[in-house]
Subunit: 344 residues, 5 copies
């Protein structure tokens, strides 16, 4: 479920709004990072303990060399640079996916305006077209979202949800056998287009112009659904993700070693007791860089089950309900026309 | 209310235009930051006082270690980098939201051109359609803007403003009960579409083509309103905001400590009396980074009540007034056709 | 007037093209900066003179401390970073505003093709519609461009330019009194739409389709004009501009002090006579950063009177002339149809 | 074949998702880089061996000077900066090319809805139009993708695949002789448009509006195919690619020399045994920068045969199959209209 | 002529693809830079010679001071930053201009489908409309591209190329006299629109809908041509180009001096013989930054005669040929309709 916080930061308060955001748990950086943080601190502490207690002199020298070496090399990988670019790319894709999700409202309005008649056949046409539109979206979501897949593991659950009929399922399964390698999300849209053509022949749609507009909208809907699939097929190239991940974890191995306090005159902090006992800034730096990587990790697939992911199951229910409402209950209904307050 | 200053910087003057902008208070960085600045300076002064007056020698050593440690670590978090990316993202969203706000002018022009007739029924149709369009926008604004919510806490205030009728309110409230989890901003648009269809049946609209164009525009208007909602639901991910906020405040804790003057030969500024008494540059650096964060803070929700936020209440009034003006007073009126100055 | 130089850099020459661009004055960085440069050099020289001649020893120490302090802090504000982002934002807006300016050519072509008839009434209709389109743009320009405002301080000058008639002015002024807070640039477009509807009723436009297309184009034109207004109302947030300006000028105060030559063994350049007498690189650095700020300053309002601003007055004249040419002189005229050179 | 991994990173797991991505081989950074890595390590080892074993004192001094010189100059080229910009440009182009690939589904739906009749002639028309659409795409792919070129080296293989007929091949070859310098991918689209016009004349398409819509879609398809060609013709300018490549390889020559351990008191790591025997961080830095360059290298032409390239051959087969399915098997068929689960 | 190299980098080879790109001359960085490189090396050598041979001691001190001063100031101008932004802006504009160039293919397809008749008059209409479209583009190219201007210095050469007729030239020249300050590229498009209207009146175009679509496309073509002009009129602001050029050349003056080897104990490289005799890295750094500037220089006007510029002359020929081919030779022709390979 998405984490919404804009209402908390709408206006300037005496205390900074962003400061107050730090005290949240759901969708927070703490929730994403506490495991990594514990791992980091533990390894740091173990290394410090070994160095200060267990090692003999020659091993200590080796350890001190390693610390100084890591410390000097720490800034040679421009981690902030590559992370910045990577997170920017991931965020752009994340938002683009959000805006790609199609909503059936315009099609419902068009269908309600264009397919005339209050008899059962006209109602069935209107409702079936909208059902097919929602079905197309649902099939795509089962392919890209594990949480939707969990809700609809097979076509039977989609039937139970009222999005599919038994006879339709058989047609899809026949074609699934014939062409197993191609996704079938476009089939309900083609059916919907055929129903539109039939409605035109039965004169339930009264002009060719409306037919054209509806077909265009159906095609647009299918196109957006297809785009969601392409986003799923072609993600940020694996090489890029690997390079960034390797760079971050390398940085932290160096960081764990390089920020150890050592009792060596070549170390500038050798006599600094604060460094010896409270290496708080090394931990904060870890927190910062790893947090940045976690931002990327939680956004790279926005259809998952993270706190920050889109509420696709809610969308599926909402779309079917609102579609039926528009094309059936509210079909060509509107409140009585009254003179408004500013009339003359 | 938005802060406009382009008129002041339109042309080059002898004195730099930007310099003159520094002497503004409304919407200024000083207004946003004076609290934080006072807090910073106070803590800085208290620490300096404690160090110079209260501490015994061993505590002074500890303090000096802490100062040297913080000072050396200050640049290890690439704050400018991550702030730059974050502010860029926030500004992009801020401008995108501004350009997403729909204006009813094109619908009004279309309605005025397409719905013919000067009788009361035709007038009521034109006015009601425009009222529904403005109502849709107002409902969306009550959901995303605290200042509009304050103006219209319930439907009753919307009725008083002349945007809603009593009978319409009852329909919406019935549906609010039936489907409490779905926003209802699209309902007035569906009603408007139904009125358009009725106007077509009563031959007040004379061709199917105009119907199609109006429905398209209504759908586009509803789509943009929906987009404003999506911007509200899915903001910059909380993790990112938290990471940036944490980084900035960590930086400043370090900065308050690390830029203290200490009387220690290891400190390069130990004998520098300017540093000792006028640490002005540390304060300016604080001003700079915190100012950058404040830019992000004031832009992340542009529908709030900050100086820099959009004037949504003005928009609501303007849209209803101008809509009525176009579809009613100015309906198919134009000045007499005269020969212009360059005629032959 | 815009500064065009692409013709000079179209192809590689023996001497670098960009080098030759340095010897221009109009629209150049020298013209923008000479005042600031003189101020900088003067203050620098005065400080150097004071230090070297006027001060006694203890004041010299103070001055030297200040120099060393400023010098060490100079790089702590990431000026290049924040300037880079800021200039990028300003340039994006600047180009977006340029591409937002609407041109009436497509409307003129449509009107010429759709409004038939060579009688005075048809001609008047075609010319008046185009005049209203140009008028809408001119009204918007008077609101955003000081140079256009100077040319048309009141409606009377617009009448003199042949863009407005006396009776139209009275209608606008009446509405200005009734609704003083709303801009009125959309009124001529609504009139133009009404004339189009009248032309349809008088069968000067022969199909509903053409009406629809013209109304769409008129709406698009009005929308773009409105967008120019929004760019003017909502500029880069004042806080951001202030932060950048403050950072730059702070940097230069530090720079003036920090790059002074001092006769102190702690200074690495104490014995360097080049630094003592020719601090040329400090001046170049000033030139560079301040030049970057000037780029932003000259682009933030592209409708002003800078060398680099858009030639809006030229546009107003050109648009009216070309519009009349297309809808009147060239109306449904074309050269005789001949067989071309490659015929068979 | 594209490497898909989003399903692995959809939701937060106990162990970081990105860490698990490191253990992949197909499309991985290891597969791209192992040759370069071996070359780097080998040269590094040879140099180290020569220095430590083979050189006499004066040559050792020379080597040490070279090492210190390279080490000090290593950071003077802002490699991360220029690489970041370059990779950003390449990735933008890569994704833009992916989204430019046109899909024939909308044309198929339109043809199926608009070209009526179940007789052989109508079927042939529908199938031939879709075949021409797929043929246009295939011809473009043979021009930009080596793997498609390998599959269809001449027109004969395209005939065998059922995308072209013998008589059509002869027409194309005639024109290829007449105008050898112009690509011919637009010819099938022009034929398809001619068939549409014939279908209109034979009244298989019943209104001009449908004709217009289909012609528009055909033009859009041709336009996107043309765009794929432009991406191929005008790549990232060669100068830019050369500058980046030169900078990277220069950096690594310096890096191989500059990160050598030397037994010289001027070297800060002279006594550090870790540096002497385990120069692991230099290798990681190489890995990181070269990996970044490899990201650019594998994305600059996304129609090649790398692991990460688009599956164009799959697309060609899929498009023909699905097109025939929509316009023929499913032509104006849809499941029986039934009352759905939520009916009243 | 554009330099195409994507075919060389389509797939991963054993040896890095990018490495092989380094061995190209046409459009290469070497070709752009050899003059500058020779100048740089020569000045560097002269300075080194003067210092080592000609100077007496006091002048040597002065020179050494200058070297140390330049060396210490070298990194104070963030050249990589400002260059990165500048090149990014230039590349964005360069690609945008490429995609702005309009192609007449869609208009040709529409004309071929809509203007019926095989008689001479219909043929002349189709051919003349397309000729006007190509003429509009050619006129624009003569205004922005020196190589096209060289090919068509006056209207007579355009007549010889078959794009213009004598009578049309006279009309244009009359208007050129009347309105010398406005470009006339839109005139052929207005003529083309008039021919379309005449074809409608003579019933060669059979429905208003086709007329509307063609007018829209003509307007779009004219709009894109106009956009090419705007790109030419308003380039990257001169101030920005000057700032970047100044910064780069300043950097190199400093670099030539600052990277000189000096025999001074304060210089860290005083005893380094590699620096003394092989200052190869300074040269590479020059190569890198200057190369970056050259990228910008060769892209800022893509219609020139550089190796990397667009082949506008080829486009002019191709467009006329293909246009005639589509509207005349291939007019409503298509291969015989046959059953395809997968029929049943």
């Amino acid at each position: 479920m998405t984490v919404t916080y804009t209402a908390d930061v709408s206006s300037r308060k005496f205390i900074s709004n962003f400061l107050r955001l730090l005290f949240r748990w759901r969708g927070s950086i703490y929730k994403l990072m506490w495991v990594d943080l514990i791992v980091f601190v533990t390894i740091y502490a173990i290394l410090a303990f070994i160095y200060r207690v267990c090692l003999n002199n020659s091993l200590r020298y080796g350890f001190e060399y390693a610390v100084m070496y890591c410390n000097s090399q720490l800034n040679l990988i421009p981690l902030s640079f590559v992370m910045g670019y990577f997170v920017a790319i991931v965020m752009t894709r994340w938002w683009a996916q959000y805006t790609t999700i199609p909503w059936p409202d315009s099609i419902a309005t068009l269908i309600s305006c264009s397919v005339h008649g209050f008899d059962d056949r006209a109602r069935a046409m209107r409702r079936t077209i909208m059902r097919y539109v929602c079905l197309c979206q649902t099939i795509v979501f089962t392919m890209i979202s594990p949480s939707v897949k969990k809700r609809f593991p097979t076509y039977n659950q989609i039937i139970e949800a009222g999005l599919l009929q038994e006879n339709e399922k058989q047609i899809i399964e026949t074609l699934d056998l014939a062409f197993p390698h191609y996704p079938k999300h476009w089939m309900p849209i083609v059916w919907a287009a055929s129903i539109v053509m039939r409605a035109r022949r039965e004169n339930k749609i009264r002009d060719d112009y409306a037919v054209k507009t509806i077909i265009d909208e159906l095609n647009r809907f299918r196109g957006l659904c297809g785009f969601l699939l392409y986003y799923d097929w072609v993600s940020v190239p694996l090489v890029y993700t690997q390079v960034v991940t390797l760079a971050t974890y390398t940085f932290f191995l160096c960081s764990i070693i390089g920020s150890q306090w050592i009792d060596n005159p070549q170390s500038p902090t050798a006599s600094n007791l604060v460094v010896k006992y409270f290496p708080i800034l090394s931990i904060l730096r870890f927190f910062f860089y790893m947090g940045w990587l976690k931002v990327a990790e939680s956004l790279i697939n926005p259809f998952g089950e993270d706190d920050d992911d889109f509420e696709v199951n809610w969308m599926i229910d909402r779309n079917l309900t609102v579609s039926y409402l528009i094309v059936d209950e509210m079909h060509q209904e509107h409140p009585e026309l009254l003179k408004d307050q500013y009339w003359d």
